[in-house]
Symmetry: C2
């Protein structure tokens, strides 16, 4: 029986240790910037994207080692999106993971620039891994850049902000969740798979898995925002509803949203069939994604 | 006799046409984002970094064609820094190149996200060029990421902001100008040189040229901010002094600053000696950098 709790504990420790080691030291000039970068990256979090990346490498028959550096880059990318999303001109959040957000702790300009630096550092770290044949040497950069760019995460964020207060709308919420969240999760498993030596058909399977589990993740996030407590979330609960955010519960209601998340999780697990490596972790992770309480 | 005016006109037209063609169309979803990206990139500007990149490729004996895509990526990177620098939490500028800044035209959130998307797209475009042997396939990405990151442009920007209102200080202004400005200009000529097939000794020469001319460029910018008019600059003149910015004129006075810029320009030209290709443009460009009126 696969022990996900043990797996998460081991991988989280691995990722945290490697991040703490690889990030510029807090006293590197300019110290305010490097302190802000480390503060946000080391604030905790589930490390879901790097762990999915490592698990995808294993599912492709590789070992996690080839995918570690790209996995860390994914966490930098994710952290930059959180810092910028929390800024006053965006979601204007003061709490993240139970701690003051980056701009509250370091000022708005430093937070903006820490986000910029983390996005840049993600590409620097990613460039440290050349994918195995038959993949082109620039493939990892292209996967991340497309997932993170104007028709990926950034595009999703723009639509998320501009849809605030608008009438709940299926097409809009689907666009937002696909791009704001699922694109990066799909990139995480694709990058892991490529590093682990996935065949082209295995890569297709991982893309399916990533998209379904990414959507399931964001729907579950929406549900938790509606139903959980500030204490559990580490940030204000019910904030989506207060802002008139375009969420799955707003469009479909809580019950249907829960069913949709579970259905997507099932589809994600079924998508794993073509993979020839050890896919226990990927299967367990998508179950975790839809049953987690924070 | 080398005709710089003609050279600038040709290369500017080439870069502008290629940018207009390569950027996502303004109606690409989300349209507000892509309009903001195009607005800022196509707002004009000297296209100095892409032109230096193309000229460096020629100076290394290559032709500009190999360096065109990376040259465009450099302009995206530069534009992202301008958009973010102009934001209210940074320099809070309302005019850029005689037009409303991006956040004035599109709102703060869209401007922030347009900057993020341009930074990301710069890496996507750069990944479209694999450098010639003996350079590693990830070399262009690494050059740009290091120049743009927390110990490059972003680091320089943090020190620039945190030194506002402080006592003029040689070490501080040197750090700021080296990183805020010269790092990206050095990367531009290094990337061009690599694409043009520069030898390792030619690359060293280009690094020298880039650093000297980059410093000369920022010193000249400081001087123009102090002495030019709003009409010529396309933005408020004298704004650096008003904000207590750490500039060369503030530290050394105008006369010494002018002399230093000219001395750096001379050193930049002398650094070109080892280059075996056509270096007329690079030599003329550094002269342009210190004699320009805007």
């Amino acid at each position: 029986m696969f022990d996900l709790k043990q797996y998460l504990a081991e991988k989280t420790a691995l990722v945290n240790k490697a991040l703490a080691h690889a990030l510029p030291a807090a006293n590197t000039r300019p110290a305010a910037l490097h302190r802000a970068m480390r503060y946000s990256v080391m604030a905790g979090g589930k490390r879901l994207r790097p762990i999915l990346c490592l698990a995808a490498a294993e599912a492709a028959g590789g070992n996690g080692t080839q995918a570690l550096r790209p996995a860390l880059a994914l966490e930098l990318l994710h952290t930059y999106t959180l810092i910028h999303d929390d800024l006053p001109c965006m979601d204007d959040d003061v709490l993240r993971r139970g701690k003051p957000t980056c701009h509250v702790a370091f000022g708005e300009a430093n937070a903006l620039l820490a986000g910029d630096a983390l996005l840049t550092l993600a590409f620097e770290w990613l460039a440290g891994t050349i994918p195995p044949s038959p993949y082109a040497s620039n493939r990892l950069i292209l996967e991340l850049a497309r997932a993170a760019g104007s028709q990926g995460v950034v595009g999703g964020q723009v639509e998320d902000l501009s849809s605030e207060g608008k009438k709940p709308n299926r097409a809009a919420v689907n666009y937002i969740h696909l791009h704001k969240t699922a694109d990066l999760i799909r990139a995480a498993v694709l990058i892991g798979g490529i590093c682990g030596g996935a065949s082209r058909s295995e890569l297709k399977a991982l893309a399916q898995y990533g998209e379904k589990s990414g959507l399931a993740f964001q729907i579950t996030d929406d549900i938790l925002n509606e139903t959980s407590s500030r204490q559990k979330l580490g940030k204000a609960a019910g904030s989506d509803r207060k802002r008139g955010k375009m969420t799955y519960p707003a469009v479909y209601g809580l019950d249907t949203s829960r069913k949709m998340a579970r259905r997507l999780a099932g589809n994600a697990v079924r998508a794993l069939r073509p993979l020839k490596g050890d896919k226990q972790a990927l299967a367990a992770l998508v179950d975790f994604i839809v049953t987690r309480k924070l």
